[in-house]
């Protein structure tokens, strides 16, 4: 792969936002109440908006004429660079909210830091995203507190989701050979430096929620170099169907 580090870095951010946005969009029309249907729709659109900006920028960096649609609709699963957490199935309401909490508790401080990037475009996209992720964090945290500290069933479901998703959390803080030079240049964020912030947020919410923080065991990884779970293929088959079946179709 000959993509420049900046292109790879931007695609990782874009793919993560798109895949999570798509996951949230799957709830639309299926949520337990209309208020949460709209909440999922809103959060999904925040993420898809972030993805659009990042894809457009990635296309610019690449300079081969690929626009946001080409990058989103015409790449196969192994070319996707999203973290594995966001492609995990929605499960029940608690599982989706927990996944959102785990990601937003990371993405909020991440974009806060990226808003100070030396790369003006990434900084601008991050500055817009940080407000969106602040709400995702607050909304998901309030829900997890109520589900965890709610009924016996809601507590059980929230704890099960937490245990199930935990092995996907470490990947958020990884750095590989794509990033050090960008971090050195003040363009990218060293995700590992956000670990303490994330831990603090999580510990606070989990304790309010009376949920038990799982022990760090074997951790899943590989999404950012294109090694995905089978779930991503299913997501893409739905997300990309129209452009694959009718290339170039527009509204």
């Amino acid at each position: 792969m000959t993509d420049t580090p900046l292109l790879q870095y931007t695609l990782r951010l874009a793919d993560t936002a798109l895949v999570l946005g798509h996951r949230l969009s799957e709830w639309v029309g299926h949520s337990p109440v209309i208020e949460e249907d709209l909440a999922f729709g809103n959060m999904g659109l925040d993420l898809i908006g972030q993805a659009r900006s990042l894809y457009s920028y990635a296309g610019e960096i690449e300079g081969k004429g690929r626009d946001e649609d080409a990058l989103a609709y015409l790449r196969d699963a192994p070319e996707y660079r999203n973290i594995l957490l966001v492609e995990q199935p929605n499960g029940d309401f608690a599982a989706t909210m927990l996944r959102q909490l785990l990601y937003a508790a990371f993405a909020h401080p991440y974009f806060e830091a990226l808003a100070r990037s030396k790369d003006a475009m990434l900084a601008a996209i991050a500055a817009k995203s940080v407000k969106e992720m602040a709400y995702h964090l607050r909304h998901s945290a309030e829900w997890i507190i109520r589900l965890g500290d709610g009924t016996e069933e809601s507590h059980r479901r929230a704890q099960e989701s937490l245990d199930e998703l935990w092995p996907y959390t470490a990947e958020m803080f990884e750095t590989d050979q794509v990033e050090p030079a960008l971090i050195e240049a003040g363009v990218a964020i060293d995700a590992a430096s956000l670990r303490a912030t994330w831990d603090k947020t999580l510990d606070h919410v989990l304790s309010e929620a009376t949920l038990e923080r799982p022990r760090d065991g074997y951790m899943q990884s590989g999404g950012r170099i294109g090694h995905h779970s089978e779930h991503l293929g299913h997501i893409l088959s739905e997300l990309q169907f129209l452009q694959r079946a009718y290339p170039g179709a527009t509204w």
């Binding site: 909440a39 309030e142 109520r146």
Partner: protein, 95 residues
């Protein structure tokens, strides 16, 4: 999950500085914090709001529709209460 046991909240939104909060609708939510979230997610999606209030619907005391005649009918014959009998000089413009 059923929302039958979730309390109802009335939602008020202030659109611009200087204007009062206006009633825009209602949401179901488990408590005040979540009602604010629901109000934000349901009623401010198109940049409508700068401030949101939620009030438990149960806290609102409403007039009885059956009292309509007693409550509101007597004012119908008192048109002199409307400020429409004054000539406003042109220089004043819109008040």
């Amino acid at each position: 999950m059923s929302d039958q046991s979730w309390p109802l909240w009335e939602v008020f939104i202030r659109t611009r500085n200087g204007l009062a909060h206006r009633h825009v609708g209602s949401v179901h939510a488990v408590d005040a914090t979540m009602a604010l979230h629901a109000a934000r997610d349901t009623y401010t999606r198109r940049g409508e709001g700068l401030s949101v209030w939620v009030v438990p619907s149960a806290s609102i005391t409403a007039s009885d529709p059956a009292d309509k005649d007693m409550m509101f009918e007597p004012t119908a014959s008192k048109i002199y209460r409307h400020p429409t009998f004054y000539e406003i000089p042109d220089e004043v413009g819109h008040m």
